[in-house]
Symmetry: D2
Subunit: 149 residues, 4 copies
């Protein structure tokens, strides 16, 4: 069974934070925050990460598409306490990048997420612009250096 790595659950590894109120709509028949509702909370954290840090300056004709989202559910989350979503850049490729995020409630990590975004135009994937690449570099998650590296 896949498990998030230890650093993914560590709030000190992420450069950006946003806090969102949970809503009654987030609950499912089990009485806890539904797993799809958690995906919406991660999306909201991701959009605010992009907006607040100025990463939305797309080139003309450019589209940013979600290529993949992977979420690990670590603990149950509940209503009505707020959820803090922390985010950072986890990988920068040629035309795609990963945003790593973690959700915390009352200081406890309840879920982690990795989202892959790809930049495209009509011709398909295109290289990440240099200025965007430079911004990403300043917003990397702070992964611990492995002893054996």
């Amino acid at each position: 069974m896949p498990r998030p790595e230890q650093w993914q659950r560590d709030p000190t590894c992420y450069p950006f934070s946003t806090v969102t109120e949970t809503r009654f709509q987030d609950l499912d028949p089990l009485g806890h925050i539904n797993n799809v509702a958690m995906a919406a909370l991660f999306e909201n954290g991701r959009v605010r990460f992009n907006r607040n840090l100025g990463l939305e300056r797309r080139q003309p004709g450019e589209r940013w598409l979600i290529a993949a989202v992977a979420i690990d559910y670590v603990a149950e989350a509940h209503f009505p306490d707020p959820v803090e979503v922390m985010s950072g850049i986890g990988r920068i490729g040629r035309s795609s990048w990963d945003i790593c995020s973690a959700a915390f409630q009352n200081g406890v990590c309840v879920a982690t997420s990795i989202t892959t975004i790809v930049v495209t135009d009509k011709a398909g994937p295109r290289p990440i612009a240099d200025s965007l690449r430079a911004s990403f570099a300043e917003l990397m998650v702070r992964r611990p250096v492995r002893a054996d590296a």
Copy 2:
């Protein structure tokens, strides 16, 4: 960038199908089916997979928890055409299993998904009951045999 394997996009690999109408609520400002809305469509297909095939017969005190959901977005999906979600069992472990799913719109695969479910009681993860394990075995996805296997 992660990509679903070829078989994951092949409708003949899945033993179960459910068709759901898309809704106006599924749309986001980009005018296509939002990635979180697709997660809700996969959840609905998964729940119906469990219900229709009798897999909901949980033992007393037993809970099935979503441990992880990974979705690959292959193509844009649109309103108002329906989405068909196909599902099957992809892995059977000691106390957890994977449900593999794919979503199709007008015959085109638009997304694939792998969900890991773990069965727990108050003491934590517990072994999958033998009768449930037998049902899972009949609902496996039909992965192609590799030439080099």
Copy 3:
């Protein structure tokens, strides 16, 4: 306590129908279809009413805005059976009109709704175009004639 009128719960009064699958996401902690989820089902029926009957031909610069939505919840609705939403025009004003709808599950009316839409441009509300007004007239709900009218 407000109650829908008898004719509002009568499927023969509505000229248009759309059937939508309920989803696991529609459920709330009480285990029935949540009242906001029912609002989304009504919205979907309304959008399909507009689309299928060609009522979306807006004039340039024209916007259709939702001015009001009133929903009466008549009976509990459940997952996984589908919900049929029936709709028709209930009122045609100078710059606004009402869409009356009712939701049925297994033949039972579970909720009714009246939505007021107003057509605007930059200067505010504007008169409904004659061609649109003519289309509306063909899609009126069939209200029973009152004996005392």
Copy 4:
């Protein structure tokens, strides 16, 4: 076309307030907060009104059901600014009551709402308990006295 009364748009008329972050999920293809998303914000304000003021102490076997929700959309609401939902009791009947609410964004009223709740048991509607009735009386909206009353 129905319009909320002037007092409904006045924040000083409501005894209770809750502030909720808007989310990217609240947006629809028109790029503003969707009308159903606004219904979910009102629901959240209503649930917190009930919870924070201790109104959830239901009698055994008692159920509180939403009988009706009416929302007037006064102005467009936008992402990402938060929405403040203010609430109070607008009417106390024998077995039902109204919660009046208004939503504000950046100090501007964007929508108002009246929700009718009915208390039931297996035999149908039942009288509101005296202690609950007393709590309601303390949480009434402050409607202006009409000069002609």
